[in-house]
Symmetry: C2
Subunit: 148 residues, 2 copies
């Protein structure tokens, strides 16, 4: 197997056909990774979540990383890594168009939003379902692929 | 689908049967994610890599996060997330036993080491193959699963 760099276009294409990725954020110098359902559009990754530690941390430090991959087998895979900036899309007139946009994207991708908005039982308590839209602006993108 | 917390034992079991994960490290406040082949043993995740930006960053800030998952389908999945501490296993007498240990682990898991030690061509230049062992000490582990 060889590992090669991917073009920006190939990395974007991978993001465009992927709907599950991993999001990393930083809190007090400690990185955290969480799985994230998303949809790519126009240099941004759109997602939503309930309000929790992840959102609070990204509000404090909006620098995030997103990794998406497609693993065919151990010798044939692609991975795209985005360094980006978290932006919340609050429920205010200024963000109305963006929120509508974020809301319609999932309709092209059935169930991509499920992990962000399902009944979650943490330590026996049901998590409140306060819906929150956000996007990640792509500052830098790189991709690598394994070639048999 | 429900999302539930997993027991520590179930999270460790997931790490034990997984060989590919995502590693996050921090450089200058920016998180980075890279795919990582690994093997779990005795509260540590063992891996190796060639010397590069990832290793240099983890030497500067050893706080890392590792995420492993098993996705059966969008309603049935498990993910384990480790907050941990990077430790290099240098080629010195003090680390001889640990390095031998790290070296024998992959033999139980064919090809888990491949992405860390293959011929890599970055921007047309072959990457030097300086082999470097490390482990991640598990400080905290949490797991969640989707239940249909």
């Amino acid at each position: 197997m060889l590992i090669e760099t991917m073009t920006r276009q190939a990395s974007i294409a991978l993001l465009d056909r992927t709907r599950l990725a991993r999001l990393a954020y930083v809190r007090d110098g400690q990185p955290h990774i969480v799985p994230m359902s998303f949809a790519y559009d126009a240099e941004c990754l759109y997602s939503f979540s309930t309000l929790g530690e992840k959102i609070v941390s990204m509000r404090a430090n909006p620098r995030v990383c997103v990794e998406a991959d497609e693993l065919i087998n151990v010798e044939k895979w692609e991975t795209a890594i985005v360094q980006g900036r978290y932006e919340e899309l609050p429920d205010t007139p200024r963000y109305d168009a963006d929120r509508r946009h974020a809301h319609t994207l999932p309709q092209r991708r059935p169930v991509w939003w499920e992990p962000g908005y399902v009944k979650t039982i943490i330590d026996g308590k049901e998590r409140p379902l306060e819906l929150l839209y956000f996007r990640v602006h792509i500052d830098r993108i790189s991709g690598r692929r394994g070639v048999p």
